[in-house]
Amino acid sequence: MNVAEMLEGKRVCVCAGSGGVGKTTTSAAIALGMAARGAKVAVVTIDPANRLADALGLEQLGNEPRRVSRERLAAGPLEVRGELWAMMLDPKRTFDELIERIAPDPGRAEEIKANRVYRELSTAVSGSQELTAIAKLYELDQENEFDVLVLDTPPSRNALEFLDAPGRLNSFLEGKALKAFIKPTGVGFRVLGRGALPLLGGLRKITGIDLITDLSVFFGLLGDMTNDFSQRAAQVEQLLRADTTAFVLVTSAAREAVDEAIWFGERLASDGLPFAGVIVNRVHHDLLGDREPRELSAALARTLTPSLAGRVADNFRDYHVLATRDDQNLSRLATQLDSRRLLLVPQLDDDVHDIEGLARIHQYLFASQAERERLIEDLVA
């Protein structure tokens, strides 16, 4: 199995995983590989490293995918038959655009954008990155200009945030809970029914009257737009569940990251979301095999000074500890998730920050089984 096979017949690839596991680089390498195979691909990322952003010609401005030029792609060894497009998501702007699109008139959109509650929730608060990333994905899917969309999910400590946060924010925007207390009428509100009174009183006592007023003004402004949020949430959900969508988990071989990948995999299964495979970055492959460390000391002694030979052996011993650790975590991962859908990328000498580096990762992601074995063999020999 390789990425091309995982994404056979797929239009959307969502790369999910905990922070610090190389999600952005992996997303870009997947997009590059699919473009090399002739597809018109857009990768949506949120916070790429400066040098990688430069290599892809990404700029904060625009909030729309831009084509990575032939000249830039020519810097790498891959022949790209299709097109690679890339964009850096601007959550605040995406949110604003969403409001502009569904507001009944421009005046209302401006009022909402100036509202305190809106300003708060579209910027500072966790969840807005996740919600807007999905909103952008949905929009690009609707526009139907690309064969494949690759989404690099926002960085968060906990990968599950990507699935949970948009729902939380959406259910707030739908205003269902609040509607039970107050009924937005124009820009005012009236208290609903006698049953809600004590609760509203309590709510005021706990939160302060102004917060309630601000919220009701906000929902008054949203008016029927709350229905649009519900509708969109349902459509986005449909997109994420579609046969043409693939969730690819990205992880390192460290214990916590593997735990998180397993949780995420289980969650995809229980939510009925389409799981395509796992990519494990920074793997320390076993270089010792069934040989004895003593053999190494002897071989090194023949070619290096004792001091240098000793330090090379120390380094090897430390490396081997990590290889053993990775091996244990990977077998756990393989037992918990589908072992055929596990792709390993070795620990490289440097961070990836250019097209050439992406092409190097791409090799491991798109290799056939035989090619992959040869690549690993090269590492060992």
């Binding site: 610090g20 960085p155 809970a177 005021r204 006592k205 706990i206 102004d210 090897f316 650790r325 440097d350």
Partner: protein, 307 residues
Amino acid sequence: MPALLDKRLVFVTGKGGVGKSTVAIALGLLAARQGLRTIVVELASQERIQGLFDAEREQFREVELEPGLFTISIDPQQAMDEYLRVKAGTLGQALGSSRLFQAFAMATPGMRELLSIGKVWELAQLDRRTRGGAPYDLVIVDAPATGHGVGLLRTPKTFADIARVGPIAHQGRTIADTIADPEFTGVVAVATPEEMPVNETLALAEELARDELPLDLVIVNALYPARFEADEIAELTAALSRTRSKLARSALRAALSEHARAATQREQRDRLGTEVDGRLVELPYVFAEHLGVAELKVLTDALERAL
């Protein structure tokens, strides 16, 4: 400004995957070693720290890991129940059991963060409102990833500003004042010496400065040892082309590879060091199959030497 461990509340933050929890617990071990009654707080409610110490995993209870060292995993929902119980008595209980109210509160943007940090604040009070709660000398918070981390520190002020008057505004302002007080609160940023974590740490330092919040310490975690001198690399490369032993070749490749990474790491460390002059502490990469109590002790010793 008092030394880090002389403060009462310390937030440990950093990009995902840099070892924040590990550093938070190592700081906790050091504080406990110095005789401080210390609690390390987890906000992601994953009870990882309890797992590290093979303690029974429990949510929202203060669990003693070692003499003087406690941990708690905060769940916003339970923080709200406690807050309502203490603040609003029977009315609070009625609200707490109202599903509508629960749904509303949990969906309100920022409310989960406010409730979590409210509980952190409560833990750091000498006069605990939790029944039977003994005071702590030091509260260490394993805070969310950087981007959300500043958000968390800012949440109380945001709520105070939005609500303006009333209990939430009052509570928010009290907590915000506590966070802004450098005598009381400290912030530690953790980074691995790689491009992105260093970028985020620099951005964090700027943001904190803008909000007039302190950044006490930057910890460069998982620094590879510098095993080889630059002039030895030619020798290793020559040996690689000489030797026919497959195993020796693998070991030489691994050595060259680690040297390359170690060199990149040092560039990144220096980039960070020039910006946060004098506040940088290094922790070594721990080569271990499993990060357990013995490995944590190694890091605690390193922190003890540095602080």
